[in-house]
């Protein structure tokens, strides 16, 4: 028994080996170099000497980065519930397999398969105050009197991005929730039906609790994705107006490639990674405890 287990162990590691090797070579190793660079004052244009933790000390006093991080957290906190709520609502709407609902699923999922830059450009156009049709539509519907300049205020720009991203990724969560709902055995639901539970009671008491695992996964993936947001802001707001929509990754990009401070940008990356790691761990721990019977 013990022998077969150890043989199983060896075989298991053998199957894992290629992927582990790949990650070690192409993720861990460059990550090590990144950490090393973060201890230097290296410029994008070359050079660089060892300066210990000076970059990290500087980050502590870098109000620009913390403001960007705070903005990213706000973005994550606003976007994630919208994605979860809307995704779940859509899933409830389309979980049966009628042709119309299947078509709806297909269309809602469609934006998930196009690129983030394509969709950001698309919405950048729709929101444009001169040639954008979203504005034209709002005017025609008498929601607004004349085209709005969305990217003139940090709040409007923020919501413009939230709208665009919701359109782009809400289908992902929806599909996962549909899967959760469809995986619930119909006898459970029928038993509830016999007990006289109404539709919303069934949703609240059975479907929602049984979708908890999907909820955790979707929330985690979407939250990490939001914490690393870059393309959508780069394309739609350029961090404006006046740098109020810089995200954490955007400020890393600015430091490394616009201001040429590669060493400092490396340190920012390491800090951001640690923050995301801690937040993810906290989220997993919290949800895992809540999920226990």
């Amino acid at each position: 028994m013990a022998r077969s287990r150890s043989r199983g162990q060896a075989q298991g590691w053998l199957f894992l080996a290629p992927a582990l090797l790949f990650v070690a070579l192409f993720v861990i190793a460059p990550l090590g170099q990144l950490a090393a660079t973060s201890m230097t004052d290296r410029s994008l244009l070359g050079g660089g000497r060892f300066i210990g933790f000076a970059n990290y000390v500087k980050i502590w006093h870098d109000s620009g980065f913390w403001r960007a991080l705070l903005f990213t957290v706000k973005y994550t906190l606003v976007l994630t519930p919208i994605l979860m709520g809307l995704g779940f609502a859509l899933a409830l709407l389309v979980s049966d397999n009628t042709p119309l609902k299947r078509l709806t699923r297909t269309i809602v999922f469609l934006p998930v398969v196009i690129g983030l830059s394509s969709s950001s450009l698309l919405w950048f156009w729709l929101f444009d105050e001169r040639v954008g049709l979203f504005n034209r539509l709002l005017v025609d519907l008498h929601v607004i009197r004349e085209p709005m300049v969305w990217f003139v205020s940090a709040d409007l720009a923020f919501w413009a991005v939230v709208i665009a991203i919701t359109w782009k990724v809400v289908g992902f969560g929806m599909v996962l929730f549909v899967s959760g709902i469809q995986a619930i055995h119909s006898d459970i639901l029928e038993a509830a039906l016999v007990d006289g539970a109404g539709y919303w009671a069934r949703v609240r008491l059975i479907i929602l609790p049984l979708c908890r695992r999907v909820l955790l996964l979707t929330t985690l993936v979407s939250a990490i994705g939001s914490m690393l947001a870059f393309d959508q802001f780069y394309i739609m707001t350029s961090g404006g107006p006046r740098g109020q929509t810089f995200t954490a990754v955007y400020s890393i990009y600015q430091s490394s490639f616009v201001s040429f401070r590669l060493g400092y940008g490396a340190a920012l990356s390491i800090v951001l990674m640690l923050i995301i790691l801690v937040l993810s761990a906290v989220q997993i721990a919290l949800t895992a405890r809540g999920a226990e019977p």
Partner: protein, 294 residues
């Protein structure tokens, strides 16, 4: 859960038919509304792409083209090295990314799902960790490393970078769908004396086909659309990929935008993704399902 179940099995909320008529109608109306809202941006962009360049930047804009024109597409198609070059590069890189993702993720997922090793969880977390890294920051060290071994300006090099981005999701999906396969099937094969490798190839992979297709699809979509690494790792117009073309073709002096070319670029970029998605939809969704729920 298999593709067949999702595609055909109507396993929804049992409905009380008699009282449901008005709410079913409401649900249908809601579906139509959702379709309109979600479909409109792409439809409008398509309509704008077949406007004349002047009409595409008209103020105020029109919903429908005033006249049909393919000029926007001609501009994109005829840009620099020609669209075919960029498409070929993107396609080859995406293909290699797909192969690499499956080749790495399928065994890894199998190992994680079916073997009981000490430290397995740590390995799993390690393999997932790359999704927490701002990959923009990894590009510089990677580029300098690749330059030393001659991987810069090669499609293989770029495919490796794209694989890095896509591997965690692929492994997660493969592990979960392998876990969802009943133990009994595997035990029967064990009694028949199949080795673990042949069990993977002959039993698990066919059963996990939807997940494999999903891995391939997401690898394709993300590789096809990736911009920054493609630009940094490739050095010649003849080795550039589609996203680089799209960014270059619509931007003029000081960021001035050619709106018509922008629409045509968007359409060209998403067309393959849409085609692949619609063609393989059945697998795709159920692959996500099997990977997601468990």
């Amino acid at each position: 859960m298999t593709a067949a179940v999702v595609a055909t099995g109507a396993r929804a909320l049992p409905a009380r038919r008699k009282r449901l008529a008005p709410s079913a109608l409401l649900a249908s109306a809601a579906c139509v509304g959702v379709i309109a809202v979600m479909g409109a941006p792409l439809a409008l962009s398509f309509l704008a792409s077949i406007k004349t360049p002047a009409d595409a930047s008209a103020i105020p804009p029109h919903y429908l083209p005033q006249a049909l024109s393919a000029d926007n597409y001609f501009k994109v198609i005829g840009y620099e090295a020609g669209l075919a070059t960029y498409v070929a590069n993107s396609g080859l890189v995406a293909l290699m990314t797909i192969v690499a993702c499956i080749a790495l993720a399928a065994p890894a997922g199998y190992g994680l799902a079916r073997f009981d090793m000490r430290g397995k969880e740590v390995a799993f977390l390690l393999l997932l960790a790359p999704i927490m890294i701002p990959y923009q920051a990894l590009l510089t060290p990677l580029y300098l490393d690749f330059a030393k071994v001659g991987l810069v300006n090669t499609r293989v090099g770029l495919a490796i970078v794209h694989t890095i981005l896509q591997l965690p999701f692929s492994i997660y999906l493969m592990r979960n769908s392998f876990e969802a396969i009943p133990r009994e099937i595997e035990e029967a094969a064990m009694l028949d004396g199949c080795s673990s490798l042949s069990r993977l190839i002959h039993i698990f992979l066919p059963l996990a086909l939807p997940a494999i297709v999903t891995v391939a699809l997401f690898a394709f979509i993300n590789s096809w659309n990736e911009f920054l690494a493609a630009l940094i790792f490739m050095n010649r117009e003849s080795s550039f990929t589609v996203p680089i073309l799209l960014v270059s073709v619509q931007i003029g002096h000081h960021g001035a935008v050619d709106w018509g070319a922008l629409q045509a670029s968007i359409m060209i970029a998403i067309l393959p993704c849409l085609a692949v998605y619609l063609a393989l939809q059945r697998y795709y969704i159920s692959g996500l399902l099997s990977g997601g729920v468990k």
